[in-house]
């Protein structure tokens, strides 16, 4: 659906030139929610703005739905942009227009007949739950309501792609949650491809199928969210995931404390249905080792349940060895920590 090839963006010239993106390649499938996470200044904003060419890449190609946008003339580009919706951190609504007129804006650009505009806008107002606020001006709305107007406006021209530029960063946690649920809804309802950038791992975890981690203008890691989230490889990715959890220095102390009978600490990762099964106690019961849970998370990534436990097995080394291989045989991922 979206293909970025060798995307490079350099701001300025000569000595003061700053490289925002260097040779980014990315492939986004139709109907998926693709997240790009990175710190501020990592280049994620430039990246998403290159997709609809609000920012012209210095080098590289942008392909959307089989068309190379970077090759199009001005009016052809305007045509193709109508099929790419975008929402923004600061909503960017017309302050002089009502909710209704803001949503109607893209339709009026293409001289849509009045009756058709009215039908579409009413439909969208209902979809985002703002029917009662149709006559209000943006200044009279809360942040979450403004973003709903932004979403409705972006959907008005029936786009194939929705770009979300830090769409929830200016919102409080509850509002963020409701906006994310709305995005997930429209993704399912219209099979809409969504690309979002964020600096919050929670956003990625809640709704994304795949994620790319951007750092210093390049993609340092990408893959399915379950893989990247549970088995982060790059230091920056680990940092994003750690910032979700608490301070783990007490855990480290517990891990390295000497144990009288001999013990091994392992990190066990459950994914999918296995998360809710009693595999661990069954296996440990069979091999006769005791275990203590030192740290653990059971949660979901999008709709996939997962669990990650740090467990200390206590008993003789052989029995512990058998426990670990048995767990692995049951399809759990076991990593020995000490």
């Amino acid at each position: 659906m979206i293909e970025l090839k060798g995307l490079t963006k350099v701001y300025g010239k000569g000595g003061s030139a700053a490289t925002a993106l260097s040779g980014v390649n990315l492939n986004i499938e139709k109907g998926e929610i693709f997240g790009v996470i990175g710190h501020s200044g990592a280049g994620k904003s430039t990246l998403i703005r290159c997709i609809n060419l609000l920012e012209r890449p210095t080098k590289g190609e942008v392909w959307v739905d089989g068309t190379e946008l970077t090759r199009l003339g001005k009016s052809q580009l305007q045509e193709h942009r109508r099929k790419i919706g975008m929402i923004f951190q600061h909503f960017n609504l017309l302050s002089s227009a009502t909710v209704y007129d803001n949503i109607a804006f893209p339709l009026r650009l293409t001289h849509t007949p009045k009756a058709a505009v009215d039908r579409k806008v009413n439909e969208l107002l209902a979809l985002v739950g703002l029917t009662e606020h149709r006559g209000k001006y943006p200044a009279q709305l809360s942040g979450g309501q403004k973003q709903r107007v932004g979403i409705a406006r972006a959907l008005a021209s029936d786009p194939d792609v929705l770009l979300c530029d830090e769409a929830t960063s200016a919102l409080d946690p509850q509002t963020t949650d409701s906006i994310l649920r709305l995005l997930l809804d429209i993704n399912k309802q219209f099979n809409l491809t969504i690309v979002l950038i964020t600096h919050e791992m929670l956003v990625i975890q809640s709704i994304c199928d795949r994620v790319a981690v951007i750092h210093g203008g390049g993609i340092v890691e990408q893959g399915r969210v379950t893989d990247v989230f549970l088995k982060p490889k790059h230091e920056v990715t680990k940092e994003f995931i750690r910032s979700e959890a608490q301070d783990d220095s007490p855990l480290l102390a517990a891990l390295h404390a000497p144990h009288p009978t001999g013990a091994t600490a392992v990190k066990i990762t459950f994914l999918g249905e296995k998360t809710y099964e009693s595999t661990l106690s069954r296996v440990a019961g069979g091999t006769g080792v005791n275990f203590a849970i030192l740290q653990g998370t059971i949660s979901t990534i999008k709709d996939t349940p997962y669990g990650q436990l740090i467990v200390r097995f206590e008993g003789d080394a052989k029995a512990i060895g058998r426990t670990i291989s048995e767990l692995a045989a049951q399809g759990l991922d076991v990593e020995v920590l000490s």
């Binding site: 790419i84 919706g85 923004f88 960017n92 609504l93 302050s95 650009l109 200044a139």
Partner: protein, 223 residues
């Protein structure tokens, strides 16, 4: 007799005609100033934002011309434009003859005010429109002008108030209106009464215009 002034000597018919002339000059010149200044202001804004070197050159030239017209004192502009007025409207005196210099004097000033208020429009909103496939003309008509409306109305108010004082100045060269009365009676004949009444009428006019402008700005402000 009030403070030694005798208002019974004031020719009220003449005062009335003078007021009417001032309003005619003001109305006509304001309309043409907006018709001329608004597009110039839009062009200044668009060219000023351009990244293309030769467009930036156009901006520099236009900006320079606007600055020149703004730096010539109005009273000198009126005199310098006498041949132009004759060519345009057939006369350089009276209500009609004053309108060309009023427009030429006020339009560059108004154009700058337009440029400034367009610059106040949130860049993000313009980008959002670009992202939706809006053309430059659509961005001007559907984003810039509506979003800048309060600023533009304030600019029009300031310009019209400035035009009031310009009409008065044009009285120096036979322009007509209240300024003409004040100069002819007050300055040339030492009849202070007419001058005072003229000034009072001008003050009232400016107050009314400013109040009306402020009301409009408030009405259209959505922030």
């Amino acid at each position: 007799m009030i403070f030694g002034l005798d208002f019974s000597a004031v020719d009220w018919d003449e005062m009335f005609t003078g007021t009417l002339d001032t309003l005619k000059m003001l109305g006509n010149s304001a309309v043409f100033t907006i018709i001329l200044g608004l597009p110039i202001g839009i062009v200044l804004y668009l060219w000023g934002r351009s990244q293309i070197p030769f467009v930036q050159g156009f901006y520099a030239v236009l900006s320079f011309i606007v600055n020149i017209l703004r730096s010539v004192p109005f009273i000198i502009l009126v005199i310098a434009l006498i041949p132009f007025s004759r060519a345009m409207v057939g006369t350089s005196i009276g209500v009609l003859g004053t309108i060309p210099p009023l427009v030429i004097g006020a339009a560059p000033f108004f154009a700058r005010l337009v440029e400034t208020s367009l610059r106040e429009v949130d860049r993000g909103v313009i980008e959002a429109a670009q992202g939706m496939g809006a053309s430059t003309a659509q961005i001007v008509m559907r984003v810039l002008l509506p979003e800048a409306r309060p600023g533009l109305l304030a600019g029009i108010t300031i310009t019209v108030v400035t035009l009031v004082s310009y009409t008065a100045m044009s009285g120096m060269v036979g322009g007509g209106g209240l300024g003409d009365l004040a100069i002819r009676y007050g300055y040339q004949r030492y009849e202070k009464e007419v001058m005072i009444v003229s000034i009072i009428l001008l003050v009232v006019l400016v107050q009314l215009l400013q109040m009306a402008g402020d009301r409009l700005v408030r009405h259209f402000t959505r922030k």
